[in-house]
């Protein structure tokens, strides 16, 4: 089965549509949204309207820290992020709030765990950025494969038989083998606000039959998404960073 993993959409409708169209062309049978559907971007309601029928059709979605901040107010956010969270909260209508409130923090499916952040304590939204944090997350679940987002920075951690953990930087668009003899933690890059220096939208294309995951990178209309952010009166830095992928 082919599964599209979409993390950190951040209310970027243009990036989301680019990824959904590409995933459909890849004959993806399942969509999994790994949290942070909203926040930062200018289209929170439109993004949730896009996702709602997909959920009705069987897609899975998780709650991220920005989704939580839009519901309950930002805590520990940077100034720009907090400004965006308060702006987002003001945009949400009742159906949008209901959608976000219903989202779980993690979902288990076969040998896979979907989570927004560190799996050892999903409600704490800790980053997985290095060997140490990856080991902590892998220690928090029995699932062989963990898929998360949150850092906006593609990474793949493999845990071998000798308990050695290694970090790989997955190249764009190349199916990476997730050997069944190992445990893997895949950090999927962001759909709506990449931060690895590559401004292209990123989503994970998982093939459970071939046991591979590819970090797909797609161009999208950054200028349009950025213009909407500026027009909404959100911090201009949130528009500028989309062009840089930082």
């Amino acid at each position: 089965m082919r599964i599209a993993l979409l993390a950190d959409i951040h209310a970027n409708l243009e990036a989301l549509d680019a990824c959904l169209a590409h995933a459909a062309a890849q004959r993806v049978e399942r969509l999994v949204f790994l949290g942070d559907l909203v926040g930062y971007g200018a289209d929170p309601v439109a993004v949730l309207d896009r996702i709602r029928p997909l959920l009705d059709a069987g897609a899975l979605a998780l709650r991220g820290n920005h989704d939580e901040a839009a519901l309950f107010g930002p805590t520990g956010f940077s100034t720009d992020a907090a400004t965006a969270a308060r702006w987002t909260a003001a945009q949400l209508d009742a159906p949008a709030r209901a959608l976000l409130e219903a989202l779980p923090l993690t979902i288990n499916e076969d040998d896979r765990l979907y989570t927004h952040a560190d799996a050892s304590n999903p409600a704490d939204f800790r980053y997985v950025t290095d060997e140490r944090s990856a080991r902590r997350s892998l220690g928090g679940t029995a699932a062989r494969l963990t898929f998360c987002g949150h850092t906006h920075d593609p990474m793949l951690f493999g845990l071998g038989a000798a308990d050695r953990l290694a970090l790989h930087r997955p190249p764009a668009d190349v199916p990476m083998p997730l050997l069944p003899s190992r445990r893997w933690l895949a950090v999927i890059g962001a759909v709506g606000q990449p931060r690895d220096g590559n401004p292209a939208a990123c989503y994970g294309l998982l093939d459970t039959t071939a046991a591979t995951c590819a970090w797909m990178r797609l161009p999208y209309d950054i200028a349009k998404a950025a213009a909407k952010i500026r027009a909404a009166g959100l911090p201009p830095r949130l528009a500028d960073r989309l062009f840089e992928g930082l």
């Binding site: 793949l156 493999g158 071998g160 038989a161 000798a162 050695r164 290694a166 790989h168 190249p171 190349v174 990476m176 083998p177 050997l179 069944p180 003899s181 190992r182």
Partner: protein
């Protein structure tokens, strides 16, 4: 009737081979016609952890490889035990040849050229083999080489599990490149070093660096130069010694720019640029070796990566139509070559001219004025290329005798793994209308990029 055991749908047959790290069994599968080999890791107690990781590496790499120089992968699996199913190649390895060394020079050259072809194909797919040795080289009846065992290999795009798990270098002692011993994986030149060791061994009957069993002995090859092959085998031609010793250079960058360039030299002995390497009959004096031994700068470093495999060392063929080339076209062709060389300084240039032979009438070797036509063409080609000011190692000249220029150029490009053909457009006129355009035919059928140069 007893049911034969199956793994992942593959029906197991007899055991073919039991090695230190894995065993090979014959197998069949209803969906895959033809003989199949199933590779199974040795998982019994006390196993070498490298055996498991090497098996995982091969499970990742082999399914991603294509072409005639690797066994086709029919699938991998893990249930109920890990396996790799691959095409069973009807070929024997080079191992039996070791029983009768040294080998005839022509045989060494033919084998080495075939291995260079296989390495070129592998390196273009982003993979460094890192365990090139006689037992991992299979030779088909037609001489084509198939490489096997990718357990130690490095793939440019995949996680390098070997590098992560082990600090000590893995490889086969007699064939390991200096940089590999220093823990550098991922330089395709390491495979050229191993092939150089094999050529040396087959030519002289002696391994250039012996078979050391400890790291200290392995590291000796960083400063200890081998006896020049011609001192051990007087009939080893200077060009072959030049080629072997260039493969055995300590610095990866001092070896051939690519496996294709090495294969090119092996197929064009007369065109190999000879340096002092070709004439040496003794090793460096002990003072020189000692200076290398204690010189901290004499250590290979990873200055290159395979991420862009061999893109920096292409073979460029320039076809010059000596009969019809105007001074303007000659300069336009040189200008195009200079442009390409500016972006890829590791490129080498083969200057080609096609000398038409007639099908029915045997051609006189000398023209009416008594000149040797072939030789005259070579002189003309050199005259054309002199302004490029390229060193001999990067510039060769070839007069191809053929009935049709386009077919000759295309054959040459395919045989020599040419990356880029540069040729001039034929001027308008009767010839083009009647005969068609050579450049159009070459551009349509070439196995590589083609640039057609036009004078404006």
């Amino acid at each position: 009737m007893t049911d034969a055991p199956t793994i992942g749908g593959f029906v197991l047959g007899e055991e073919i081979h039991r090695g230190g790290m894995a065993s090979l069994r014959a197998a069949t599968h209803p969906d895959h016609p033809g003989p199949i080999l199933l590779k199974l890791p040795k998982l019994a107690g006390g196993e070498d952890p490298a055996a498991i990781v090497g098996f995982e590496m091969e499970q990742m790499i082999l399914p991603r490889l294509t072409g005639p120089h690797v066994p086709r992968c029919h699938g991998i699996g893990h249930d109920p035990m890990p396996f790799i199913a691959m095409e069973r190649i009807e070929a024997t390895s080079l191992l039996p040849l070791l029983e009768r060394l040294p080998r005839p020079i022509e045989e060494v050259v033919a084998i080495a050229a075939a291995v260079a072809d296989a390495l070129d194909s592998l390196h273009r797919q982003g993979v460094v083999h890192l365990d090139i040795k006689p037992s991992n080289i299979l030779r088909r009846a037609d001489g084509q080489v198939v490489l096997v065992d990718f357990g130690l290999s490095h793939h440019a795009e995949l996680p390098d599990l070997m590098a992560e798990e082990f600090r000590l270098p893995y490889g086969t002692a007699p064939y390991m490149a200096p940089e590999q011993i220093m823990g550098i994986r991922g330089d395709p030149a390491s495979d050229l070093f191993a092939l150089g060791c094999l050529m040396y061994f087959f030519t002289t009957g002696r391994r250039p660096f012996g078979d050391p069993q400890r790291l200290k002995g392995l590291k000796r090859r960083l400063w200890w130069d081998p006896v020049p092959p011609r001192a051990l085998r007087p009939d080893c031609p200077p060009w072959l010694q030049e080629t072997i010793l260039r493969c055995l250079e300590v610095a990866p960058a001092a070896r051939h720019g690519s496996a294709a360039q090495l294969g090119f030299d092996l197929r064009h002995p007369a065109q190999v640029g000879l340096t002092q390497r070709a004439e040496r009959l003794a090793r460096d004096p002990w003072t020189t070796r000692l200076r290398r031994r204690f010189n901290p700068d004499h250590q290979p470093r990873l200055a290159r990566s395979i991420a862009a495999p061999q893109e920096d060392a292409p073979i460029i063929a320039v076809a010059i139509d000596l009969d019809a080339t105007t001074p303007a076209m000659a300069e336009a062709l040189r200008s195009m070559v200079r442009q390409v060389l500016a972006t890829v300084p590791g490129a080498r240039v083969a200057c080609l001219n096609v000398l038409r032979t007639r099908l029915l009438l045997p051609d006189a070797e000398t023209d009416a004025g008594g000149h040797n036509r072939h030789l005259q063409r070579l002189l003309d080609l050199r005259h054309w290329s002199t302004p490029l000011a390229l060193p001999d190692q990067r510039l060769t000249h070839h007069v191809l005798e053929a009935t049709g220029p386009a077919a000759a150029l295309l054959d040459y490009a395919a045989q020599n793994r040419v990356d880029h053909i540069i040729l001039g457009a034929r001027a308008d006129g009767l010839g083009r209308r009647v005969l068609g355009s050579v450049s159009a035919e070459v551009a349509r059928d070439a196995p590589c990029s083609v640039t057609v140069v036009r004078v404006r």
